[in-house]
Symmetry: C2
């Protein structure tokens, strides 16, 4: 299907690359596509610049948010949480209305130093704010509780671990579930938490995730809900 | 050792019972011990009243917070989060100073309806507030991320799952680790997250825990950090 990924950072690249490999037609939205395409500074984590990444995936159209193709059936929000609302406004309600938006962002606020806090939490969430601002968009929160390397390659971790879904629209959650299964997630690893307000819980996992990242010395871990089945 | 458990609800009973079975001398603190001991209303979850529970553990001294024996080497905070500060103040700094306090409470605020929110989160935590108010107490946060049935019986869930520790004092964390091993936790299941500020992360797990409790239809699950070792 035609998918627009918002955000050209490492998370956006990882998701866009995987969706391309799965046969989807992927475009990427960014604030200034011309300058994004010229970026040659290596990513801190991967050592690969956007230009180099794009050479590997030349079929991915990189476009200003406002100029993304109109026919995308799915949008993926891979912007930083604090930039999300601006990005979505630039894409525009006209294109987004009636579409599914997979929100994989987290509202991390680095402005007060490390570790980051959450810009919104406890009584609200980024996903709920998006849903409230774009009531005709079917927002599904998911994949935000793990490193992007695991999002697109769950087999990186031996054994089961979970991905959580939150959203008000069952059809949209089914679409995301189908894509997750395509990526390699197993049905039993997908936990549908319920409506979009349940995304508070998964966004609030981030403070623990960040501390575990430090304690374990690697981002290659994920949450499993251990239970007897 | 001599241990004082603060709080006589189901969590306090479960912890006090297990510590008694392990051979410790346990006292329990409550606001009004005389009326607590007379309680015959059955607990919502267990169907067992405090009086009935106490008949099973007659060696447990139940006392007003202010009259707890002075010689306890360990305190366990099993009060509700919103009642914690009052309870600790009633016990008093004189008894608490220099002692280890295992804080298993969560700052759940039910005043705005269900699901509860957190009374403190994101930029602070209940455990940090206790540490700040009682700077000479060695506060260790732990066991607060699971149902009390699992706290005292990790084998309830097949396979590994985790208990997290946060605290500034390594000796106190070692004491708690020893007790956890006695209870039946395996060393590899205990994750030391670091200083007391890391308790923000584990207290902020509660919103997800509460939603999972509903989705899974049981409180008998726990978090596992899945990783390749």
């Amino acid at each position: 299907m035609k998918i627009s990924v918002l955000g050209t950072g490492i998370v956006g690249q990882t998701i866009a690359g995987k969706l391309t490999e799965l046969g989807h037609t992927v475009s990427m939205g960014t604030r200034d596509a011309a300058s994004t395409k010229l970026r040659t500074e290596p990513n801190r984590m991967t050592g690969v610049s956007f230009s180099e990444w794009h050479q590997k995936y030349p079929g991915v159209i990189v476009q200003d948010y406002g100029k993304l193709p109109a026919e995308a059936g799915l949008y993926v929000n891979a912007t930083s949480g604090t930039a999300t609302m601006d990005a979505l406004c630039l894409v525009g309600k006209k294109k987004l209305n009636g579409k599914t938006l997979l929100d994989i962002a987290n509202p991390l606020d680095f402005s007060k130093g490390m570790p980051p806090t959450l810009a919104v939490s406890n009584i609200d969430s980024l996903a709920e704010q998006i849903q409230s601002e774009f009531p005709k968009v079917m927002v599904v929160k998911g994949l935000n509780t793990m490193n992007c390397s695991i999002m697109v390659n769950p087999d990186l971790i031996t054994g089961d671990h979970n991905v959580f879904l939150s959203g008000n629209d069952d059809g949209s959650k089914l679409l995301i579930r189908t894509i997750l299964l395509d990526i390699g997630w197993k049905d039993r690893m997908i936990i549908d938490l319920g409506d979009i307000s349940t995304s508070r819980g998964t966004e609030m996992l981030l403070p623990l995730w960040i501390r575990l990242r430090g304690t374990l010395g690697t981002p290659e871990f994920n949450f499993l809900i251990a239970r007897n089945i």
